[in-house]
């Protein structure tokens, strides 16, 4: 595996177009799913999906092959989302303080359906899917990274840029929330 990641790192450094095509194919589903968990919009997840790969191309030389590629990929995606959220917050504040902007901006995100809800069909919105929908994003993110992506705890800490203790506590709470939500959904 170490040889694979080293070869991957060298390919990214060279900006090998075939390698990038292959990586996009290989990680398309996983990256999109992760972005959908983080954002509250399918369209936004699509935008971030494309931006993430542009970043991978531009900053491929920064990947040293010491960790799994997906951990690095998710970190890039996460940072893009965080930057966007910061900008959005700043714009919101501008709109609130600038009388030229008219009525203060509404915090639509609070009323928006969650990402899971957006992508599911009406039929799927009942039962277990609806249960998953009730779990806070921060928990759902670590649950996805641990149990769907099967990343190690340290790799998750790397993606989140958070201490290991934070990752563990979110995982324990997330697991509890998941179990409770499932019970609630099944009831």
């Amino acid at each position: 595996m170490a040889d694979d990641t080293k070869a991957l790192a060298q390919g990214l450094k060279r900006r090998d177009p075939d390698l990038l095509d292959q990586l996009i194919e290989q990680y398309q589903y996983r990256l999109f799913r992760y972005l959908l968990y983080l954002t509250s919009s399918r369209e936004r997840a699509e935008d971030f999906f494309q931006e993430t790969w542009i970043r991978v191309l531009e900053r491929g030389h920064q990947y040293d092959g010491k960790y799994k590629f997906e951990a690095w990929l998710f970190r890039i995606a996460r940072n893009l989302v965080i930057d966007w959220q910061r900008q959005k917050k700043m714009q919101s504040l501008d709109a609130l303080t600038d009388p030229e902007e008219g009525a203060p901006m509404e915090f639509a995100a609070l009323n928006q359906p969650s990402p899971l809800n957006l992508v599911l069909t009406a039929e799927e919105k009942t039962g277990v899917h609806a249960s998953l929908d009730r779990i806070p994003t921060a928990y759902r993110e670590v649950l996805l990274l641990r149990f769907q992506e099967e990343l190690g705890l340290e790799e998750i800490a790397g993606v989140l840029a958070a201490p290991l203790s934070t990752v563990k506590s979110r995982l324990y709470r997330g697991l509890e929330a998941l179990r409770s939500a499932m019970q609630g959904g099944a009831a």
């Binding site: 996009i24 398309q28 931006e51 542009i54 899917h129 149990f147 769907q148 324990y172 697991l175």
Partner: protein
Amino acid sequence: MNENLHARAEKLIAQERVEGISQAERDWLAGHLHECPACSQVAQQTNDALRTLRGLAIPLPRGLTARTQFRVQLRAQELREREPKRRLLWIMCVMSWGLGIATAPYVWRAFEWAGERIGLPRLVWEMGFGLWWTIPALIAGAVVLMENLRLAHENDLHE
């Protein structure tokens, strides 16, 4: 059964899935689950919940991968086209500094001669000589700075 045992069992059920447990703890848990239907149900519910999470399918938007591959290839092409210009700039800088070092004594004498001929104070023509040295570095720095600003602007547009 002691409440502490149930609490320990629940803790180990979660811990086993999050960070793993020792063989001794696994044996103890297996024994407890065998005897305790309530904790056994918790373990089963946890397994079911994780199975559901793992099996959750989210449809990928049609054409997203192809669109992304196209955009990435375009950007790669842009970057490749820019690469020779950047290399040329650095080559020119290196050549300029190399020539500067090689010709420094002659340029110094030329400045000295011109300064005396025009009647400039020594400090002025010495500063002129210093400027002669720093101009290539300043130009290269300005070009790199402008290039980085342009890149940052492009990134903002992408976002």
